[in-house]
Symmetry: D2
Subunit: 309 residues, 4 copies
Amino acid sequence: MAIHHFQPTHYHTAIGSHPPVLHIASGDTVVTTTVDAAGKDTTNTAVTPRGNPQTGPFYIDGTDPGDTLVVVLDRITPNRSVGFTRSVVAPNVVDPAFVRELPDRGLVDWRVDNKSGTATLLEEGTRLGGLTIPLAPMLGCFGVAPSKGQAISTETSAEHGGNMDYRGFIAGVTVFFPVFVPGALLHVGDGHATQGDGEIVGTGIEISMEVQFTVRLIKAKRIRWPRGENDKYIFTVGNARPLDQAVQHATTEMLRWLGEDYGLDTVSASILLGQCVEYDLGNIFDPAYTMVCKLPKVLLPTPETIEGS
Amino acid sequence: MAIHHFQPTHYHTAIGSHPPVLHIASGDTVVTTTVDAAGKDTTNTAVTPRGNPQTGPFYIDGTDPGDTLVVVLDRITPNRSVGFTRSVVAPNVVDPAFVRELPDRGLVDWRVDNKSGTATLLEEGTRLGGLTIPLAPMLGCFGVAPSKGQAISTETSAEHGGNMDYRGFIAGVTVFFPVFVPGALLHVGDGHATQGDGEIVGTGIEISMEVQFTVRLIKAKRIRWPRGENDKYIFTVGNARPLDQAVQHATTEMLRWLGEDYGLDTVSASILLGQCVEYDLGNIFDPAYTMVCKLPKVLLPTPETIEGS
Amino acid sequence: MAIHHFQPTHYHTAIGSHPPVLHIASGDTVVTTTVDAAGKDTTNTAVTPRGNPQTGPFYIDGTDPGDTLVVVLDRITPNRSVGFTRSVVAPNVVDPAFVRELPDRGLVDWRVDNKSGTATLLEEGTRLGGLTIPLAPMLGCFGVAPSKGQAISTETSAEHGGNMDYRGFIAGVTVFFPVFVPGALLHVGDGHATQGDGEIVGTGIEISMEVQFTVRLIKAKRIRWPRGENDKYIFTVGNARPLDQAVQHATTEMLRWLGEDYGLDTVSASILLGQCVEYDLGNIFDPAYTMVCKLPKVLLPTPETIEGS
Amino acid sequence: MAIHHFQPTHYHTAIGSHPPVLHIASGDTVVTTTVDAAGKDTTNTAVTPRGNPQTGPFYIDGTDPGDTLVVVLDRITPNRSVGFTRSVVAPNVVDPAFVRELPDRGLVDWRVDNKSGTATLLEEGTRLGGLTIPLAPMLGCFGVAPSKGQAISTETSAEHGGNMDYRGFIAGVTVFFPVFVPGALLHVGDGHATQGDGEIVGTGIEISMEVQFTVRLIKAKRIRWPRGENDKYIFTVGNARPLDQAVQHATTEMLRWLGEDYGLDTVSASILLGQCVEYDLGNIFDPAYTMVCKLPKVLLPTPETIEGS
């Protein structure tokens, strides 16, 4: 149950079996920082090449392939006052013939204010004036080392997590990752002060963060795709193209979860999901798109229900 | 501003330029009924072949191709006490290799109670017991006659609307359709007492309905895809496979809308959508999938903002 | 075994249950003409609105839903000397970000010479000079009336055929269509003097044609997707988006065919297809894409093989 | 122009920046061996874990990121007499609802005879008898180390090549790879004695090989996707899901190639490709699908044509 304060000195733009920066134990908490997607730190200084550089990896002692790593996102706080976004929707989110109507424009800056909990557009010359929106700080890219000696670019995502760019990964959320290598090798990075569904401009409000997380271990529990839990929902994450396949991965993983942990056979789970499931669009920008399959916790069977049926 | 009470005597399973059942005027209200997806009416009696049979079409006088038809869904009320759903998720929403694990099971019934506003599973022998969930009555399939003499199956959807199976089409919502033929020729049907995102079992709680709607006309306003508005959001609807293309249609339509009606050039609209857009998954079961692109109304520019920028 | 000479006076841009222009019998041959995609006839005069206008429909006497219609394409001959193509690849066949590099350019003309069997580019000012390529006349869009009272735009394709834009539909090929309505209601149109795979500029060399075809009937034989046969191959056609789904339709239909008509169980058919199947890309331009699954006839089991195993 | 005989002692199931096994020069030839997809060698003995194990990597001296590596496949010869295939088409190549009809069956063996140039099915109990088909030995998986420190699983493919499973990669073909790391780091493996389009059962006839290849370097020539050339065609390779995106990558790369090396502006290249392009389906089984865009060399402009236009 130790608390580790870790200040990174180097970063990775592929998630893989890199030498760990720290060994921690199940139950431990880490307080660390992440640079923004462009490799800039709390002083807005470029300290590493761009591309969602990751802090870590953290080696969780006693973790083996086939376990599940539990990561509680305790706190995600912007640690500087300016973030940036792209200013034009990505070509792949509009009709192909409409791409010609997309101007070629650069980045815009936002003032990020933790006290008021808002971000304010700093760009002059748009029709938006000083648009001010609520902060909802999240991690765009984080995950564990993949199997088979792979090192997967932080541009994309897969079973190991990675660049899912899902606005639901905010403080308070618990995330479950399948473990592929000894120690799991957790990487974290790519903070967004907020983000719309789909990350359709290719960025959230990109900013460096102070991040605190706590890890836990479930031994010999094999999951296939990242899972999560917040106050209201349990959810599963599918990463793939097209979105259809991301839905397939997430839905299949939810069916497995409901079967294994909640005693719901496929028919029972289907009846429940059919009328009550919700889906969130993580990203439709990165090489792999992300869809999230959610079920309200209030609908989950209690032990009594399971016994009584 | 007349109110028409219309009792259908026949139905259509393709949306097209059928002879109109009623001529109405802009501003008029229609109170009518719809049979369920299987062609069963308020007495649960089969009165027409299955396949989302449509009531109508209604001819809106003075409507020409290139106009926009506005349909306010005033009321959608189940008019019998039993609905049905399928009981297994559709093969196309799970990983292909997982399809083998899907049992081949039939329909299950639900008791639908307007007074308590709930639906209760009537099936014995599941792990769900007497699962009771809130009603949220909606129309799964409705739309206007398409262009070029087409008659489009009520199994699918396109620019004209059709079988979008989006849970957001509930009472209180305003829907905008492009008009392709004189009179628009509005069809309505396929009521669901409630439905999860995606309609992943291939049904909502299918039930006959009493439906009241009011039409209005916007002359010489050309839209490309269905649009909508509720208390909190404006939204656009894209229908296609894969989901990626449905997202493209809906997002492009939203960019057009923000440009034409709210004075937002593409960059301004992109900046706003990038951090604030939301997407809903309509259906991922029908031949064309449905994605909905939403923007909170509170973020829309007011005339002052537009002038001031 | 009559030969009918039919000169069309009107055309359809949706394939549906239109009044037949001619009743013919199984075994009969029809000699007729088709206008080009733009509605222009043998004199290059516009005689009907654009959009792959169809000649027909032809009612084949004695044909019922659940039968298979066999259409032998006896002859497809350009009947004028100038055709046209688009001059820029379609936005949907290049990377989304590359669309901005596509110029907005119009049509180019080609001289079509049946004697030499060639088409020659007439456009000045390209880097191609007077590019001359072989003719391979084909039908881009043809098919039978679909089910359920549908009328399907000639822009797209489905189980009934339609705008498949497959370069394999040349003279000498036999095509099999599922029959959905009494009389089958065969439509033909959209001749191309030649076309590349995928129809990636959105056109072949569009030209009016003289077309001769012979029909035959297989009673009570239900197929799901168009099938075909030429000297070397049997093939099946899948129409859908994305291409992945078109492959699924075509492959599934081939497995059914090999099972029903050649006695190959799924494992035997899989082993054979796995190492010997070929696929052609029909179109990747239209609303539904087309993939063709082919098996060399030389590999088909003979009755002896079937008995002997 | 040295000839290197290299006998591998270890293999990789991810293509990445592993320590090179051999340094070679531009112009050199390598004669080596590959194990089959299951890790079995010329004696059919498992010598390394399964999953398309790769021989190499080979470091080509003087090669830098931004160069193009040219690999001539001189010879690909099965070096044992038995190969294997799967016996059921993959779930993702048939309609989702049809998956339930796919039996769960294992591998089948084939006798591979280099003298007669044939493979003969050894399985009893199918309807195929002793099916004998021609050999067409190819490499399923080969490529160069990717950028950014990635190590990409040999199950999949991307810009660096990898598991493309394209039956066109036979002896006599020249392949061009973009270079991402110093030395390029060429890997080769996954030989198939033959394979159908699409690798729809998930295997070709998997077998160990003797492979001879010759490398060459084009300095400071940046390509984006693998390219190739054989006697009749130049071709480009796109790897992605869905197939639509693979087509986009391959077509865009072909447009770039025709522009850079053959002087064809986008309009000229479009006109030519529109009527003359061909596509091959590489694989529709692996995580990334493969489509190949081909143009007959006879249609390529000669220098005279380019000057004269």
